[in-house]
Symmetry: C2
Subunit: 128 residues, 2 copies
């Protein structure tokens, strides 16, 4: 682990499963793309490579975003919250961030007792 990664890992309060939630936000538009999880190793790899790498809880494996989909996330800036238990990743997202093909994962809106599909702040690239 690099000095940087060690410093960050010391500042981050990983939970009892060794994970911390990470919010990915498109750096220029401000759109919140997704929330996923990181462990020490995925955080270290993200910092070393600039390619955002999560820990997939369902697959129990490192998950470098875009390796299978091509929809890479490049890290622009990493922020840590005031008590060290959440990360904010300012990223440059290539194509859709969501596995459904939508630009972001937060496309379901709750309104007036029903869940409807929200119009994305940025139209999915696949529709452009």
């Amino acid at each position: 682990m690099t000095e940087l990664a060690a410093a960050i890992a010391a500042k981050v309060n990983f939970d009892q499963n060794g994970l911390v939630p990470a919010i990915a936000q498109q750096h220029d538009s401000g759109e919140v793309l997704m929330l996923a999880w990181m462990n020490r190793e995925s955080l270290a790899q993200t910092l070393a490579s600039g390619r955002v790498t999560y820990w997939s809880r369902s697959r129990a494996a490192l998950w470098r975003k875009g390796d299978t989909s091509g929809h890479e996330q490049h890290l622009v800036e990493l922020r840590i919250d005031c008590d060290g238990d959440a990360l904010l990743l300012l990223v440059d997202q290539k194509g859709p961030a969501c596995h459904t093909g939508e630009r972001c994962c937060f496309f379901d809106r709750v309104e007036g007792g029903v869940v409807t599909k929200a119009k994305p702040a940025i139209p999915p690239l696949t529709r452009r």
Copy 2:
């Protein structure tokens, strides 16, 4: 629990502790203010009142944002992610969101091996 809250609770995948992470984003500026946690009851109260209410893990109690600080969060729109295990709250935040007095909790930036204070996207209201 209202019909709405029941519907939402059915769609949300609460974790083994009965919690789901909730991202609060200022609805007009796009600034990510904070990440906190909700359980079924806090989600139901948020939907019923429009005042964002979290579950405080440290105090093990409902935490209606602003009750002690005066810095209320008003819900503008609730979104759920594609697999139901994260919430995005579009809010109108009164004053600072962070207990440190900063507008948002993500003011520590990692850059070049050190952690520095990031310039907030929006200056804290207390400094205006």
